[in-house]
Symmetry: C2
Subunit: 432 residues, 2 copies
């Protein structure tokens, strides 16, 4: 390949600085193309730990990494903080809130948004957990509910203020329920004068017959027992019929609850529907085996936006490792084609998902992990979870900060981020 | 003194969990009275480091401490998170947003608010720095301005986006200007593709003829030189004539600046004016020598809300050490009177301010400090500043987190908290 000046290099536009987008940029050598990464935030968020920000264990900054900082000094690399508004496939251009940009290759990895299965009106009363702002909103909500309970005089109102319901028994719901139960029973225990936070009612609702459906049934049962030991009321096989301000209807029963958290559904970024390809029920784009868009080999869709059954018959799940593997796969294909230059490259390799396991933490020394044929539960699973999350957390400073926060909380039964910021004004999802 | 049951103990209500209020609670032995502390936030903020949150050096949580956590387990101690609305001196009751409460003694330490000398309309365009939310707002503002500059196409607009003006040359203004200049010139330097953050224009405006008027003139001159070395444009002896959206008029000149920060004035909490006593121009209550309210020996006003010239002729400044000393003084008096019981106590001791020195940091290895007759500048002053702030920062976790952040920034020239949260929606001061 002959040397080309920067302007002659092909231009790759990457939409989204999540796991897929970042891994793509890291996997592609800096000298083969110009890259422009567009994200509406200035930071990458380590989503698997969002629930710890929401439950006051970590500060927002600990799990976020400024995107510019990650690639500072890398040549031919630009970052635009803007909202992507449209992709013009025919003319190979991306329009965003601050202008537009042309591409030779496009990598779309905008992830997902909280999905309410057609009940978007529930979003106001039951916020989801997809961004730092969501997490800070939920933290404010939880801590403020206990503050209000402390001065409430009506017993029914006090009970409602101390009732917290999590809808959705996947990993996020399980982790959130465990963390909230621990917050109330262990951390806030001695903080109040008129209420007893250990009597808070924490309920986890799952529509199917068991928690953590992606895990082995034995682990689902273990997760349930571990949650119940923390005092969480687990209800499976019941569906939420309605959600309104401070009340939720499940299986015909109306429960008053100040705090309702939605962990039941994720829908792909709405941009997926505008790409002209078929989408599934969750709005995910049905990509070709190589992750490209049908009829547009120059466009790749990666991460939570892509719907794919791989050659082994595995429906690729919407988890961080899958997104990273997809980003790396797209980078490998593009790199090979750029190296081949004018020569037509051979057929593209299909994406094969390598499942390295899944885990969910429930609380102190409580977790479940499925690593291939291995199953872990309790302390061992919890330690495995801690190590893996530290290793994959982006940025040395964040690793250190999170490690110290964890050690501190473990030793003192306190949580450092028990701070209410951002006033009461912001409606849920205002920034989403 | 005979043992009394808890209900017979006198009740002390403390308004505000700032330096004065916390020090009061700590100084009073837990067995002499019941205490109720009322604050509208759930956390104490270490105000001297707010500017580092605003300039993306620290995360909000690092300098905040949940108030309940500080006194968890202390008997006869209640915390109410509510806004104080009125004090009924005649009936000895405090009304707040969640109810009301009677007191035997009242300690008022609500601190200050940003003051605009009658130009409250400027608050929208030039936010102040009094709370965590203010600091997060300013951080978002600064980082977003650079993000917008990166994609701006009009050179004049780009220049305006990269102009940051700080109004007020006291410690907060000096520290803020230094931190912003360092952020632009050292930290963001390599982050952008189309703009050169080292060419950002950072201007510090002071109406009087020198910066840091509370310091020796030699230190004022040193601070100015140290700021100019960082590239800050220092203008003294000029006054701000007008502030509007994105523009500031100083000495007849209109300067376009996306970011304007107000560090020029502090006014006492407006509640001071409702206490029936004389107030000074800044709304501070003219207290008696023992810090009590004229005609109400059971009410003490401490910290930034109190106006007092002590027996040595020193006008007590509105700084954290003075607030802490006042809180301790009020606790000493009340403790003595409670111990004396029915016996009429002798005349009260007047408050005497012990000035242990003042310091302001400008940047890496740049600071000024006045410790009695000693003057420090440069690296030595900076090290003294670092140590003292770490020592006085409340909470072990926070000390450790801040120390590690500082070490990290020092070694890497990065700032961990370079994260934009909270979207664009919130108007400045919405939570103030």
């Amino acid at each position: 390949m002959t040397a080309r000046t920067a302007d002659q290099l092909p231009h790759i536009v990457v939409l989204g600085g999540g796991f897929a987008g970042l891994q793509f940029c890291r996997s592609l050598p800096p000298d083969v193309a110009r890259i422009t990464l567009i994200d509406r935030e200035n930071h990458h968020v380590f989503q698997p730990l969002l629930y710890q920000v929401a439950s006051a264990g970590l500060s927002a900054v600990d799990i976020a990494q400024p995107i510019r900082g990650l690639f500072a000094g890398r040549p031919r690399f630009a970052v635009i903080m803007a909202e992507v508004t449209a992709v013009d496939l025919a003319n190979r251009r991306v329009r965003h809130s601050r202008g537009e940009v042309a591409y030779d290759y496009l990598v779309v990895g905008l992830g997902g948004v909280t999905g309410y299965f057609g009940r978007d009106d529930w979003a106001r009363y039951a916020p989801g957990l997809k961004s730092l702002d969501d997490a800070l909103h939920i933290r404010r909500q939880i801590l403020s509910a206990f503050e209000k309970a402390e001065t409430a005089t009506d017993p029914a109102e006090r009970a409602a203020l101390m009732t917290l319901i999590i809808v959705g028994g996947g990993p996020t719901g399980v982790e959130m329920a465990g963390a909230i139960a621990e917050l109330a029973r262990k951390i806030l225990k001695r903080d109040f004068d008129h209420i007893d936070p250990t009597r808070a009612r924490v309920m986890l609702i799952e529509g199917s017959d068991r928690l953590l459906r992606a895990f082995d049934p034995a682990l689902s049962a273990s997760a349930r027992r571990q949650l119940e030991r923390l005092g969480v009321e687990v209800r499976t096989g019941v569906s939420v019929e309605d959600i309104a301000a401070g009340r939720l209807t499940v299986a015909g029963e109306v429960i008053r609850a100040e705090t309702i958290i939605w962990a039941a559904g994720v829908a792909a970024s709405p941009l997926g529907r505008s790409l002209g390809a078929e989408v599934d029920r969750g709005g995910r784009v049905k990509v070709r085996p190589d992750l490209s868009l049908p009829d547009h080999p120059e466009v790749f869709v990666c991460g939570d936006m892509a719907a794919l059954v791989d050659p082994n018959g595995v429906a690729v799940p919407g988890v961080a490792p899958a997104a990273m593997q997809m980003g790396a796969h797209a980078a490998r294909i593009i790199r090979r084609e750029l190296a081949a230059g004018a020569t037509a490259p051979g057929p593209r390799e299909p994406f094969v998902y390598r499942d390295k396991g899944t885990m969910a933490t429930i609380g102190r020394s409580a977790a479940v992990a499925q690593l291939g044929r291995w199953q872990l539960r309790g302390t061992l699973a919890w330690l495995a979870w801690l190590c893996l999350h530290l290793i994959f957390l982006v940025g040395f400073r964040n690793k250190l900060a999170v490690l110290l926060n964890w050690i501190y909380s473990y030793l003192t039964y306190k949580r450092g981020a028990r701070v209410i910021t951002g006033a009461s004004g912001r409606p849920p999802g205002a920034s989403a």
